[in-house]
Amino acid sequence: MDSREPVKMSRRKVIKMGVLGTAALSVGALGLTGIKSKTTSTVQAHEEGEQIGFLYDQTKCVGCRVCQAACKETNNWEEGVEWRRVLTSETRKNVFLSISCNHCENPACANVCPVGAYTKRTKDGIVIQNPDKCIGCKYCMYACPYQAPQFSDKTGRVSKCHFCYERQDRGELPACVENCPMGALKFGKISELRKTYGETAQVPGVPEPEITNPSWVIIPKE
């Protein structure tokens, strides 16, 4: 993409946010404090304004599954679903893959979902699925190449990783990233991750990234 484009966009956004912010402040003055704080977080996030993604360093991962446990604890997984999984290589020793949702640039789940339960945030590209809208048709489970959306028989609906967006909005780290003892999981702007660590989004066994253009970078173990 043209490098000038985002600058132009963001300038327009700044003005827009300013107007919105002023409006919200005046509403806030009327006593609706909730709206005010929401706007503040939008303004903060605007500074990012770019697709974020996970960085997974296969060379550092020891397969301890703390990321999984932290995710489960933080996000109260519904029975039978795993928002993050740690896969073990079939052929090599001590080779793992910690995977959740890749918040794809072209999320197939969002395209197929008939009830529009999926939204991709413009400010950071996080793909958020709202389980309260889900009717349990499971179409997204076929569409996603990474099996990120998962169905709970107990609740009859799908849910998936949302990159701890509420924590991020509060300025905290995603639970998996924060708790990984080896520093194998990180996150950041995908363009910068790719620049620094390469563009690997596939290791042997993983489907080709062309299907959905996933926002993750893997540092593969040789």
Binding site: S89, I135, Y139, V206
Partner: protein, 296 residues
């Protein structure tokens, strides 16, 4: 995988109903010859068949019996093929009921209603295939051939169910036009499409995962259903039977042409059973690009 019998029945009934409507539409337009008795029955059954399939689908949804009010959301994503389907099926059922009611009352039906119904019927048949064709993560489904295959199967099964019911309902009045030929052409076309589709999948044009799915049908767990039930009973047998009937009918005097044999009845049932087998095989043999989540 995640979809099972209710989805299979839904896809099958969607096609069957759409095909039944189009059969009567074709008969009404005179495309099946002057003597066709199929001008009404297809209209009568079409909206009900599709409606039954749609109701069954509700039971398959995780929230169908828990929070059914969430289903209103089905209308909300214009990008989703499933949302398109909800609109298409709902409209088809409504238009189909109007058409059926007016036809039953022997009233003249506005041309616009009849044609809208036909377009929606075609859309219903195509939708059942398109629903699968857009799923790139299941390579066995991700081909433009899918909607074509499903439409042809819809027409074939629709013609069969309509003929079958017409035989029993119209009884002595039952006469045939060119239905026999229509049967032959549709089944032959379906055989060719299936051959192309399976060829593409089996020879790895769509990758190793699609090939794996194809192998399930050709030589794997579903091979008996595929070769015996679908290809043999559902396509080849009725094709030969209809050809046989056609040749025999030529020798008979025109007065006797209306006669329907046991062979025709069995063939029609075969075609319908084959159409069901097709939907079942396509759904059950689906393998996603990364099924077992293995890494090497």
């Amino acid at each position: 995988m995640h979809w099972h019998w209710l989805i299979i029945i839904y896809l099958f009934l969607g096609g069957l109903g759409a095909g039944a409507y189009l059969t009567s539409f074709a008969a009404e337009k005179g495309w099946l010859g002057k003597n066709s008795s199929l001008t009404r029955i297809g209209y009568y059954i079409a909206p009900f068949i599709v409606a039954i399939g749609t109701v069954l689908l509700v039971f398959d949804l995780g929230q169908g019996l828990r929070k059914p009010w969430l289903l209103i959301g089905l209308l909300s994503n214009p990008k989703s093929v499933m949302t398109w389907g909800v609109y298409i099926l709902a409209l088809f059922i409504v238009i189909g009921l109007i058409k059926a009611f007016l036809t039953f009352k022997n009233k003249t039906v506005p041309n616009i209603v009849t044609i809208a119904g036909a377009i929606l019927a075609l859309a219903t048949g195509a939708y059942t295939g398109l629903l699968l064709a857009v799923v790139e993560a299941v390579p066995f489904w991700a081909t433009g051939i899918m909607p074509i295959l499903f439409v042809v199967s819809a027409l074939s099964t629709g013609l069969s169910i309509t003929s079958l019911l017409a035989m029993f309902i119209e009884k002595e009045k039952f006469t045939e036009g060119r239905e026999g030929l229509a049967h032959i052409w549709l089944i032959a076309a379906e055989l060719v499409i299936v051959a192309v589709f399976m060829g593409i999948m089996y020879f790895g044009v769509k990758g190793p995962v699609a090939r794996e799915s194809a192998e399930l049908l050709v030589s794997g767990v579903y091979s008996l259903v595929f070769w015996g039930y679908f290809i043999g009973l559902g396509l080849v047998f009725p094709l030969l039977a209809f050809i046989f009937n056609q040749l025999k009918a030529r020798k008979l005097s025109p007065a006797k042409k209306g006669h329907h044999s046991l062979l025709t009845i069995v063939s029609d049932i075969s075609v319908i059973a084959g159409g069901f087998a097709l939907r079942a095989l396509i759904i059950l043999a689906a393998i996603p690009v990364w099924e077992s989540l293995t890494i090497y």
